[in-house]
Symmetry: C2
């Protein structure tokens, strides 16, 4: 099981557009086989900073996300709205270690 934390900074003028496209990506991503969570968080102190919490059962399931139409639509749509390049940081899940708790 792995989690990728994706850190994003959005240009101010595209905030609403970004949230709208991300809503679509979220809605489809949680339906993917092997997806455990796909939470969208907004920094409480800076509304233009977001973190995506993308948890998958396996490396293969996480890799398959990048081949989906909804991910690719999202990636192309939001690219010009980024205030800086987005950063994905991969993590191992230590706890809960039981898949049933996800």
């Amino acid at each position: 099981m792995i989690v990728t934390l994706v850190h994003i900074r959005v240009k101010k003028e595209f905030l609403d557009d970004f949230i709208r496209e991300t809503e679509m990506n979220h809605r489809e991503s949680v339906k993917e086989p092997g997806n455990l969570r796909f939470d969208i968080l907004q920094n409480a102190g800076d509304p233009f900073r977001f973190t995506f919490y993308e948890a998958y059962e396996s490396e293969d399931a996480a890799a398959a996300h990048k081949l989906t139409p909804h991910y690719n639509r999202w990636r192309e749509a939001v690219e010009p709205w980024m205030a800086s390049p987005r950063q994905g940081v991969r993590h191992k899940i230590l706890m809960p270690s039981d898949l049933a708790k996800w």
Copy 2:
């Protein structure tokens, strides 16, 4: 609903101690009223870096965590094991917005 992302760097010689104390904190924290998740992640590229994903139903529930015996035991135990001060970053939850999905 809120999430605090807590970023931690552990001194190399205390890695096992830190994981052991954190396991205890995790096990008790998920039983707290209003706790939605308390996931412990280890950076895939740097095993001495951790992120805690602490999701709560409300600000009050998140604040109550800091009053628990298990949190205070953990905080005191790990303090000398930190390689740098730990950082908590508060977030609003945008998606999923439905509490039943947590």
